[in-house]
């Protein structure tokens, strides 16, 4: 069964460093998302991406964040200068057109020290 793949599963970084989280969405999906979940809190929307551009973003997704689809398969989230409060699980998701449900990857646990 096709699945969303995320790498790495766990990343530890120093405060102020840049990180790139990577995702391979399901191959025939056209909508791509990043969500995050701070430990013990609910899953929060960050950004959606369709047709090679951002379609929506939340207040969390400020100038420190960027997304890119560098080729036909990968979808990345870059955090330019990490802060302690960026520590969270980051989930990539994708969905087909005309399908409401999104399918999530297993997440990248980002720890900023």
């Amino acid at each position: 069964e096709p699945e969303v793949t995320q790498t790495p599963s766990h990343q530890v970084t120093q405060m102020g460093q840049e990180v790139i989280l990577r995702c391979v969405p399901i191959s025939n999906h056209l909508y791509f998302y990043w969500y995050r979940q701070i430990l013990g809190q609910k899953v929060e929307f960050l950004v959606s991406f369709y047709n090679n551009e951002i379609s929506e973003k939340s207040e969390i997704f400020d100038d420190q964040f960027s997304v890119e689809r560098p080729d036909g398969s990968n979808f990345t989230l870059k955090i330019r200068s990490t802060k302690l409060e960026d520590s969270a699980m980051y989930f990539c998701a994708s969905r087909k057109p005309r399908q409401g449900e999104a399918f999530f990857g297993q997440g990248t646990r980002l720890t900023v020290v």
């Binding site: 929307f45 409401g100 449900e101 997440g107």
Partner: protein, 112 residues
């Protein structure tokens, strides 16, 4: 005000003891109501989509229903492997229509 509210926060059941989880949502502009299962340290796993009041979906011991103001996830004769956090999410029309808005989840523990 939260658009999606789940109750209870936690639920302990004996194996075989059926129960229901509740999800209340903001009614205006709803485009879909979704249930996911999340195991510790893992991503949400899709279970069901519901679009209109009266709709029901079933999978093994789980049945999801939708009314005009809330959704229920019924668990019949649960087993220990059903232990997980169950998340409800909603998608709305207009601004924000691409995203899912999640509730805080119900943590279900099924005791053998």
């Amino acid at each position: 005000e939260d658009q999606v509210t789940q109750s209870p926060e936690a639920l302990r059941l004996q194996e075989g003891e059926s129960s229901s989880l509740n999800c209340s949502y903001t009614v205006s502009g709803l485009r879909g109501l979704f249930w996911y299962r999340q195991d510790p340290g893992k991503g949400p796993e899709f279970l069901f989509t519901l679009y209109s009041a009266g709709e029901e979906k079933e999978k093994e011991r789980l049945k999801a229903t939708l009314t005009k103001k809330e959704s229920f996830l019924h668990i019949t004769a649960p087993k220990p492997e059903d232990s997980a956090t169950y998340l409800c999410a909603a998608r709305y029309s207009g601004a924000g229509s691409y995203q899912l808005t999640f509730g805080k989840g119900t943590k279900l523990s099924v005791i053998p």
